[in-house]
Point group: C2
Chain length 405, copies 2
């Protein structure tokens, strides 16, 4: 039978990251590939108790729920956001299956085929995948360490009239970048002037290594001007556990209502049992203390990976020291193709994600993303050893002059 898949379904390839995740699920490979949080830190016992509390509430807890999500959890998120300078009412929140679904619902309610979406370059590859699935034209804006170049952005906005601008301004995936407050404010001003929506994706904002540092969300800055220019998405996947798949979007009721209607068609609602359990967890567990523990551990792991890499004294290899999040971004010497290196690395028992995947414009092939949050200190050490061997082999195989000392 000829199933006649839609053109976009024929085009879409499975994400490389997910395919790598499949390859590296065994215990023999040390994976710096996936964007996985540290399992050792999962609040398993607290979560078990939270589920018990839901089960104690009677059978109605197991019935169908509301498309928008469990109301007490939306109220708890609204309160939490308010404490972080992000005023929002529970009715301006829709709960989703991870923040991934929040972005997908946004795409559903906004994108007409051929609409232009502007993004940073590189950016979150699954967002690129979503926008392409909805037949958008995704274009990148020149970006430096402080965020998008505002002059370049304004030219793009005027020339291309984008439907929205998608940014991950705090500890971006894959680069770990943080936008300066000035750029955030300039983005809001520009978008308000030209009536363009900002989509702020913030899965990592809570994972900051310096407790005293402040990275005000674009949503919070916009709120001071009355709000409405930003739809903000986030998730409990990095701060509680990924398995629950609980994310959310918040913004103007026009947007949230449209997203809820789209969600009704997409899946009626996400697991309401999980949403109720998360609400119980937030009520009976000190999540801020827990997030502090995550921050301290990830900071330790980032510095360990950095130190281990430094000890290798590779010539011409650079990487950043992110102020939060879960990833190091590495640039290899010119001419090295990270995807080819990956094949060697998997043979050596270590994995990462080639950076090329994350680019919307011309891919920079000598870049790669290293996750430091998932691996234990021992695994970080062994993994960097294997990465070292991989680089040596790769350079020998490709008959290059070794650049490594």
């Amino acid at each position: 039978m000829n199933y006649r898949l839609s053109a976009v379904a024929q085009d879409v390839k499975a994400s490389g990251v997910r395919e790598i995740l499949k390859l590296t699920q065994g215990d023999s490979i040390i994976s710096f590939a996936g964007g996985l949080p540290a399992e050792e830190l999962f609040p398993k016992e607290a979560l078990r108790q939270a589920f018990d509390r839901v089960f104690q509430q009677g059978n109605r807890a197991l019935q169908y729920g509301l498309t928008e999500g469990y109301t007490p959890l939306r109220e708890a998120i609204a309160m939490r956001m308010g404490q972080k300078g992000m005023p929002v009412s529970p009715s301006e929140i829709v709960l989703t299956t991870g923040s991934q679904q929040a972005i997908d619902l946004l795409a559903r309610v906004l994108i007409e085929p051929g609409d232009v979406i502007l993004v940073e370059d590189p950016t979150y590859l699954s967002a690129l995948q979503i926008f392409r699935y909805h037949s958008a034209i995704v274009e990148s804006v020149q970006t430096d360490d402080d965020g998008m170049d505002m002059a370049a952005l304004e030219r793009k906005v005027l020339a291309r009239k984008p439907k929205f601008i998608y940014v991950t301004p705090t500890f971006a995936n894959p680069t770990g970048r943080v936008w300066s407050t000035e750029r955030r404010q300039a983005l809001i001003a520009l978008c308000r002037q030209h009536d363009v929506l900002i989509v702020e994706d913030d899965p990592y904002g809570e994972i900051k290594f310096d407790p005293s540092a402040s990275y005000p969300s674009i949503y919070s800055l916009d709120a001071r001007d009355g709000g409405g220019a930003v739809v903000y998405t986030s998730t409990f996947s990095k701060t509680v556990v990924p398995a629950l798949r609980i994310g959310w979007a918040m913004g103007h009721p026009t947007m949230i209502d449209a997203m809820a209607r789209a969600k009704q068609a997409a899946d009626l609602h996400s697991s309401s049992l999980d949403q109720q359990a998360l609400f119980q967890l937030l009520n009976h567990f000190d999540i801020d203390l827990h997030i502090t523990a995550i921050r301290m551990e990830y900071k330790k792991r980032m510095w360990l990976m950095h130190d281990l890499l430094t000890q290798k004294r590779w010539d011409g290899v650079r990487w950043n020291k992110p102020a939060g999040g879960m990833f190091l971004w590495m640039t290899l010497p010119e001419g090295v193709v990270a995807e080819d290196l990956l094949h060697v690395a998997v043979r050596e028992g270590v994995a990462f994600v080639p950076g090329a995947e994350f680019f919307c414009g011309a891919p920079v092939k000598n870049t790669l993303r290293l996750n430091f949050s998932h691996s234990s200190p021992q695994a970080l050490e062994a993994g960097v050893e294997r990465l070292d061997r991989s680089l040596q082999h790769y350079l020998n195989e490709s008959n290059r002059t070794p650049i490594l000392t």
Copy 2:
């Protein structure tokens, strides 16, 4: 800010059923509206134990999972389907957030704007909603008590070249209809001849009132000819609990792989914690015995509702006695508008879904859907009383000659 919602997002209205569900969530209204299973029968203790078993497995159970879903659960579903004459390998199954998402993913990977989808009339309204969200042209095929009229279907297939045919052949929502085996076989022959995919949506097939009756799924009949003409979707929402939101689709790898890629963009994966718990439940709980209890109770409730309605001796009001599922389908006298009656009914403290919502073609406004699975015997009795009062009021208000004795 002008958010410029896409045309389809502007068009889509929230489903009437869901809006009614919101109105009737209080305890003062007896709702025959929602398609809700009986809460008293939920296997809460077994499910609590199943979650405990997952929590005993260590922290990895709380990590990100595979897009296709938890492999042991897919294996368990494949085995269960095999026992019902539906051969399928685990890799030909994708787990979804309810069967609603399975239908949405199918729509995503198949529909190009303007594609024609053929459906029964009336049919599942949320499927209509999905197909319209994907800018399909949905057309109905003349349907009688045995299923679609095959001559009418063939004319439509030749004239309209549909992308697929969507059917709920066993205890359909809203009509409770069951297709005859002959019609099922004729549908397969016709679709194979014209190379048109069948989407068989089967959320209610397990809820049959006569344990000895056999309603072979279209998938099982197609499998005898080598398979591939059917994508089959179902759910554990009616047989275990809705809150888990676990459904699945199964079919040819071309379809399932495309749906998994679409799901990767849509939400990465559904709650893997819930999937693991369901797997534990299936391993430690006699689900077939449980389904037998559901069948017996729903049969009892259907007959009770039927008897209560019969006692009212309303002139010109007809309804069916379904052989399974969760709904009665009622036709009121000509000229009665069920939606108007609903407004009176809600004032009287009872709710139902006007049938017009479920029609793809011309709505038959004097029809309505009554759910009998969710209400206790006492509530069924009180609800039918209220329905009786509503009809009397409605007819008085509209100055009609009372048709009720």
